[in-house]
Symmetry: C2
Subunit: 396 residues, 2 copies
DNA sequence: CGAATTAGTATGGAATCTGAACTATATGGC
DNA sequence: GCCATATAGTTCAGATTCCATACTAATTCG
């Protein structure tokens, strides 16, 4: 804590508003007295803080419920389900937009499939139409959207709204700030870019296996292999903002050239293309090839089994190093790894046990069950978390 | 910031004391007016805060210095050089203790060589005598010691004062809490355990190459290969407290068995023993063998050159993965790597460029110049930083 | 229907910041 | 030398926000 900024007396209230809101968020229904007991604040302070939170619109007072206990019943406080955020996702062969409320529930969800390719302008134009459909539907329902998040499969600079590089979209240094603003015009918090694997890692934290692990490495298997690090229920982005990129750990010092310019990266043996070609699977769309691979595995094709086993082996090599490096003991595998769970798990566990015995135990290896909405939910959820972290900002 | 603890009005002062002290720390000599200008606090607040800091004894008022400027001259404020911390180190073949003042200068330094081996009790008994010599010398000089740090080559649990495992000392689950207290009886902040590589990484930050890099991976080459991660001028310890351990990244999936139970770890090709035996160097003490290796290299021995080159190559493989994983662009090499700089640098740079082109540029590779006092200075320095972070704790 | 119990509000006191007015101490021009 | 100017530091009133205590409100139990 190399404290730079001086503290003001008002900052105390900023923090306590967040503390009180956090207490409300963690239970179905709270009363002022319960909040005081849980946070350690006095009843008087809580009364004042709750008044402020009611003013932000983030919480609502629901009537008293006589629960049969002795004494005056408290009046219930709940998160306002009429507040939410936009979540959006650009991926290689589809676009998605949705609205997530303060409780984390997906209230609206729109997806369109589209052929790969297109400039950032074209793609974001299509996405805007989709987002408009989603937001008007939500607003017709009485919802107010506070901000939004857009997940893309690539490295991003959220501060400037720029996609630095997204090889599978063919984008490089794409400045999207204006397009982001257009997705949700006039929202208090705007729309922020994020990396798809990071967003999926957060979605896993909030809506998936996150209840089991406080610290883990999430690995997203797509055409590329991405990753996100969660420490203490927070995303760890690293100094440059791109930590957790396991796809380019070196697992075969004498291996193939990688698209990143390096050699023997994990992606060259465990990315989708690598597995498909090792298994001898052709096809046009990713979905088709994935189906064909699963079919071959089911049919007992030794070629397919060996391809997946090899991927699992090298995934284990990479995860052994990664787990040691950042000192985590759990990994969650998403994307194609989740679909291949049954076939990839044995070789992965063997490999982990042999390269880093005891570091990642078998029950520290989990497979994602969230499917394709993970990134979208994570992107919207991260904006909602910002609201929870500083509700004060919503007070004029 | 999943804020849990409610804020009090008093917390504002806690923070502002640290802010003011930080402003004083960053310049040779400050005045209240300068502090106000630099921090954004008002002159009135700074006056009050400085009064509090004077009470802690951490700063001193030195007389006014007429500098020829117009207007009333400010009265100078400086860090009190009579306050400091104990730094201590247990290593395989020596013990060290020293006293570091608030400016980071080593005021007393005591080292004894000793044969390897000994139980934690024996070793800490010897260390206590050494520490007593150092502290009485410092106290005779008028110094007051606020706390201390002890660096050991192994994984530690600072909260409980336990060495979890230190293979090169032969220690395992050694509970040292009482011995730590005995090193500096009655000090306000006590003595805290730390990992040697982490402490050296911090020493590098404060007294070495840290001025050039805000984020880097420090690699300590000893019998084992340890590491420490510095992000944003802070040590990143990871969820379990042991992040940055590069010694056990897998660099040869088909390589040798490692003492950690894994296979093909960096340590098996770049640790001191690995290099010595690959170079065909025998000898009893580490210092002797190191001297022999340097002699062989100077004499142009192809065997020695190849051993070091191989170590550099695999060090590059590990650092390529590590840098990608945690997204740093600089590494600082200490321990035997620093001594071998001239011979190891070329193969390391080639390897980095080939496995992670552009990630760690050549001028992001630095070699430590701190020598053997690094860990001691880091251990003491980290306690002093705690003082800087919360000076309030020193007020009655 | 009153005693007991719990929820929530109102009020006074303490801590601490800010801003403006004030005092202290220097330089520089005449 | 003296006074205007400039800068450093202090004092004091006002604002904010917390806590502690006393109070009012609403319910259950006997």
């Amino acid at each position: 804590m190399q404290a730079e900024a001086p503290g003001r007396v008002q900052d105390v209230r900023r923090q306590n508003l967040a503390v009180a809101l956090g207490a409300i968020q963690r239970t179905e229904r709270s009363t002022r007295a319960e909040i005081a007991a849980r946070t350690g604040l006095t009843k008087a302070s809580v009364s004042s803080l709750v008044a402020g939170l009611l003013e932000t619109g983030l919480i609502e007072e629901v009537g008293v419920t006589r629960d049969g206990e002795r004494g005056r019943p408290g009046s219930g406080l709940v998160l306002n389900r009429q507040r939410g955020a936009l979540g959006a996702e650009v991926n290689v062969d589809y676009l998605a937009a949705g609205v997530v409320d303060l409780l984390g529930e997906v209230r609206v969800h729109e997806v369109v499939e589209r052929p790969p390719g297109g400039s950032p302008e074209e793609v974001l134009g299509e996405l805007r139409a989709l987002a408009r459909r989603a937001t008007t539907a939500a607003e017709a329902d009485g919802m107010v959207l506070l901000g939004g998040g857009l997940a893309v499969p690539g490295l991003v600079d959220p501060a400037h709204g720029t996609v630095l590089t997204a090889p599978n979209l063919g984008w490089r240094n794409a400045a999207l700030a204006q397009h982001l603003e257009a997705l949700l015009p006039g929202a208090p918090l705007g729309v922020v870019l994020s990396n798809e694997a990071n967003s999926a890692a957060l979605a896993e934290l909030w809506y998936g296996h996150g209840s089991s692990f406080r610290d883990y490495l999430y690995v997203s298997g797509e055409v590329g292999v991405g990753g996100g690090l969660i420490f203490g229920s927070e995303l760890f982005a690293g100094p440059g903002g791109h930590a957790g990129e396991v796809g380019h750990l070196v697992v075969q010092p004498d291996g193939q050239q990688c698209s990143c310019g390096g050699r023997g990266c994990l992606e060259t043996v465990a990315g989708q293309h690598a597995i498909f070609s090792a298994a001898g699977i052709d096809g046009t769309s990713t979905a088709d090839r994935m189906a064909a691979l699963l079919g071959a595995l089911d049919a007992g094709s030794p070629e397919a089994a060996r391809a997946v086993e090899t991927a699992g082996h090298y995934l284990g090599v990479a995860l052994a190093s990664a787990a040691r490096m950042v000192n985590v003991s759990a990994v969650i595998l998403g994307g194609h790894f989740a679909g291949l769970q049954k076939w990839i798990r044995p070789s992965l566990l063997r490999s982990l046990d042999s390269y880093a015995p005891g570091v990642v135990p078998p029950d520290g290896v989990a497979f994602s069950g969230l499917g394709q909405t993970a990134a979208l939910r994570g992107a919207a959820g991260s904006r909602l978390r910002e609201v929870f972290a500083s509700p004060h900002d919503l007070l004029n």
